[in-house]
Amino acid sequence: MRRSALTGLTISLLLLAAGFAIAFLVGRFPVSLADVLSVLWAKISGQPSGVSGAVETVVWQVRGPRVLAAFLVGAALSVAGAAFQGLFRNPLVSPDILGASSGAALGAVLGIYFSLGVVAIQAFAFIGGLFAVSAVYLIGSALRMRDPILVLVLAGVVIGALLGSGVGLIKYLADPYNQLPAITFWLLGSLAATSASDLVSLFSLIAAGTFVLLLLRHRMNVMSLPEEEARALGVSTGPMRIAIVAAATLVTSASVAAAGIIGWVGLVVPHIARSLTGPDFAKLLPVAALLGGSFLLVIDTIARTAATIEIPLGILTAFVGTPFFIWLLASMQKNWS
């Protein structure tokens, strides 16, 4: 099949538009597309919108930040997933392969345990994610073996398990009436608490990391070759790997800090993007970002509207992701044999 970047981009832009529309329109408070557009236009032009104050509040203050956050988090996780899958030369890798999620989880859970505010909890989560990946990277570099990629992945598994037991310990110690529900809710992923002020840091961190990855897109193609080939082609693989891991970790940690742990997006979406554009990162990264954003917009809309209570995002993505993963394994088995 001939894949074209233009087709991929067009499809993902259409899906994104649909995702935004669904996310803005669906909900307990009825809002029409015209309402949304006039509120948005009013904010851009500075003119009064002409819709009722309640509608304007729903569009601009209730759904708006959440919709943007869903887009950003979905895009970030997908971009990071695509980068890690390329770097580790393995299509079954997800953005938390190096412990970003478990580190962030421990950070956030600690924040909740010490009854800190939302901002502090997010900062803890972010620092935890960066810390975990740095630890994994240092261990991987200290143990110089022939396959640096394998060492990194194994170090990620081990550190992830250790941090996971740290999370378990805090859950065990936490107040079962106040803290434990908050911890559980956060660990399952949610955008319910997103406020407009969160968006600034979320956007700037994700934009910075994604920008670096986009700049390096052609080098990332070469980095998806075996290490020695990449070096023979003129790439300093060590510094390049640090740059890619750092950028991908930055966007992962930022999104985990804002939305908790949302699995599967970073695993599934890069595959769908790759099937549209092929593996060339120059085409793959933008399409993965747009598709990931639309995917999480839809998932988050389901999360807040399907039941009388919020359904955690991680649970919904698992329902979508698990069958997809099994299908992926089955189709890869066909290719390998």
């Binding site: 001939r2 390329g86 030369r89 393995n90 299509p91 110089r144 022939r146 700049l215 390096l216 897109r217 052609h218 080098r219 193609n221 070469v222 998806s224 070759l225 075996p226 020695e228 080939e229 070096r231 023979a232 082609l233 003129g234 790439v235 300093s236 790759r274 092929g278 593996p279 060339d280 120059a282 290719n335």
Partner: protein, 253 residues
């Protein structure tokens, strides 16, 4: 230009593979590295490419230490054709060959019009231009070998190093790759390749290096070095020479 090493020890951090190796490769010549499995061919190749630091001694390029040359610059001087692999991602053949141009762009740049032209030219040179938009994972092993060769040629190097370029190819494709090697040396490149088949060295190499247990046991002009005695000693097995008035070939005994 010459790639050279004197009294080189090769190996990994925890394992010495070979020592006392003296070898050189000039432009416009092809050199075949022969030897039994585990004799150190691949390790020597990687050391000469600068991918593996020598345990002792130094690989030099025109007298300058190879390790002191930045990877980017090195990639413009020495091209590497690895053993054929299936690849993880379904890049198009064109994208794979364009990766050979990495060392000519800056860190953030995308392939230039010239890069595309060079890639195209190399694909045409090897007669595989029709594969340009096919996916690398879907073409045959012989075609993949040619694509990897095209990628190395796109580096526009002075030397080209091939790791068992004929290993997984059918008879026809083996011939194709061997005549390509001959043509490359004819076009002025220094070519170093490893092979399991002495006949392939006879077919395409000016000189041979016989490597056994990490040491060079014989080195010199192909026809003089590839004798029944040398080959039997090298592989520790019987070898049957077949010859007519002009040429000689060897069958495994």
């Amino acid at each position: 230009m010459t790639i050279a090493a004197q009294n080189l020890s090769i190996g990994y951090r925890d394992r010495l593979v070979g020592s006392g190796i003296t070898i050189s490769l000039r432009e416009s010549e092809s050199l075949a590295l022969l030897g039994p499995n585990g004799g150190g061919k691949t390790t020597l190749l990687k050391t000469l490419l600068g991918l593996l630091p020598p345990r002792e001694g130094e690989v030099t390029l025109n007298g300058a230490a190879l390790s002191a040359i930045p990877v980017r610059e090195r990639a413009r001087l020495i091209g590497y054709v690895p053993q054929v692999h299936t690849g993880t991602f379904a890049f198009t053949v064109e994208t794979v060959v364009l990766m050979g141009r990495t060392a000519y762009g800056s860190l953030f740049s995308r392939p230039s019009a010239k890069d595309f032209a060079v890639a195209r030219q190399m694909l045409e040179r090897l007669g595989i231009a029709h594969l340009a938009q096919r996916s690398y994972t879907e073409i045959s092993g012989g075609e993949r070998q040619l694509v990897l060769l095209a990628r190395a040629l796109a580096q526009e190097p002075r030397f080209i190093v091939l790791d068992e370029p004929t290993a997984s190819l059918d008879f026809g494709n083996q011939g194709k790759v061997l005549s390509e090697i001959e043509a490359l040396a004819g076009a002025g490149l220094g070519v170093l390749f490893t092979t399991h088949d002495p006949n392939h060295a006879l077919r395409a190499a000016h000189r041979v290096c016989l490597l056994r247990a990490g040491a060079i046991v014989a080195e010199g002009k192909t026809k003089q070095m590839l004798t029944r005695e040398n080959l039997e000693a090298l592989y520790g097995a019987a070898v049957l020479p077949v010859s007519d008035s002009a040429r000689i070939a060897f069958l495994p005994g």
